[in-house]
Symmetry: C2
Subunit: 331 residues, 2 copies
Amino acid sequence: MAVTLKDIAERAGVTSATVSMVINNKPNISDATRKKVLKIAKELNYYPNVIARGLATRKSNSIGVIVPNLASSFVVRVLQGIKSTNRDIDYTVQLFDTVGQNENESQLFQRLARERRIDGVILISSTVTDEELNIFRDESVPSIVVARKCDSLDSVYVNNEMGACDATDYLIEKGHTQIACVISNKLGLPTKERLDGYKQSLSNHNLPFQEDLVFEVEDDGITSGVEVFSRIRERQPAVSAVFVPAGDMVAIGLIKEAKKRELRIPQDWAVVGFDDIPAAEVVEPSLTTVRQPKLEMGDYAINMIVDKIEGRESGIKHKELPTKIIIRESA
Amino acid sequence: MAVTLKDIAERAGVTSATVSMVINNKPNISDATRKKVLKIAKELNYYPNVIARGLATRKSNSIGVIVPNLASSFVVRVLQGIKSTNRDIDYTVQLFDTVGQNENESQLFQRLARERRIDGVILISSTVTDEELNIFRDESVPSIVVARKCDSLDSVYVNNEMGACDATDYLIEKGHTQIACVISNKLGLPTKERLDGYKQSLSNHNLPFQEDLVFEVEDDGITSGVEVFSRIRERQPAVSAVFVPAGDMVAIGLIKEAKKRELRIPQDWAVVGFDDIPAAEVVEPSLTTVRQPKLEMGDYAINMIVDKIEGRESGIKHKELPTKIIIRESA
DNA sequence: TTGTAGGCGTTATCAT
DNA sequence: ATGATAACGCCTACAA
């Protein structure tokens, strides 16, 4: 049987209430009993039952991390940031992904909250809708969304517009005027912002925005890049550069296919991605891309949610992080 | 305030014990009350407080996943496998990594067990020692280790020896006789097994094992590959092929550096990695490597641990999965 | 079929 | 400074 407060209390000749106070470092305990109790606790290798404690304190001391799909390298990297923060986090991380489940993010969140399973939630998703986020806001459990801006909730995100603008600026400065833009067909907020940044840059340089240069892809995998290559070449042969807000894997697919079709990169075609995944450095030519500070995003998220849980912060907070263009060989 | 069993009981005109039995689908409840209770529960949007339930049942319904370092792509992939199993898993996953913590894997495990935080544990680590694993065995909480074989504990692992043997066979069949072997200097069991497989293959083909052809690297990053390239070239210029049990990133570093030094791959140098990470497909030339079935490993692990927790399995179980050599361009 | 009562291991509020 | 005692919300004999 596990050792409990009561076991310690009996041996120490005190009551379990006293032992509890010692364990929790409460004041007003005589040095003698404190020492005695701690000694016995150590001898018995006592650990408090966190579930019983949770019931008494109404705290689970754990935070939920909800992700739509753990297969995304972006998501994993943010998760790493959450786990590797410098601050000593006294909360356990419970991981949930919704892919293939019959609950969506907000339903899951609501359940977790009502079951009192978690004290707070970090949602990592760029595609969650405003309506869904409202459900988060309406529960009594603190929550924060990572990867998109949100008025009604704490959030951590990057300046997508500026990142896209920087990337397009860079291509224009290199002399390109016919710049295709490959976006995800899941038109979440970040997609829109990146497209806006692209337009902004064109406009800043007095270049026309051409609807025909915008291409949509189904997913963010390498095959999407391979597939969209042909579309671009067929419909817009004059294109000399491609900006790929849809993500680095798509950009890599594009590069691979371009090389197969004997296009030289960056001389014939310049390519800029978005995100800076590990493979970006490895592909040949290596990929110029807009880096998102994923570890920092996770770091901010966990610290913000803990502050919120512990009442050190109130009101809605936002943290916008800058992107950084990483110049490599593809552009 | 949250709605509790008692709230439902009052409205239904029964006692909370009855409501509990309804919620938990126990028999011997009249259809009338069952319906009435469920109706009210739904109206009030009732969810059981899992912490209170846990205290009463002495179950947390969550399993811990302990990893030495979440930055490893192998670990992440196994984690994905754990989360994406087809079976409906009624357990929450709590994630712990030990990097930068003051507890090692077994201390952490012991604490989690004693705190009654988790009903079972999956440890993803190839480098954990036998002594540490004994601590796992000695706690009363079921546990399983992924990525290395272990006599005293349930385990899921690949046949490293056969994987390495296949890879070496392949190189020998391609006509190579001077085959370097690049291993990690953390001499865990898998490293040893892979080295054994390499030796086995040589022996099978009546080739001598040469100690001088074995090179150790510090970590499994790309820079290790870059660094070890020079060592191999300087000390063993006759080498025409390299097998890299240390991992794909090392192999990729090796390839990148080889290309920079004007070595043609695979004509001048053939390279075979181990693991099959996403970047292996993307690098140029793409990497021939020994694939580890990471998703399957996670899948087996979660299912085995759940069976163990729920008493459907007893005794020590092992699952050995086969590797598969993925032929690409680098060899 | 349902109610009563006690317990799960803590914490917290009073007394003393 | 410490002890009684009552929560916390749920489960489970056992009794009715």
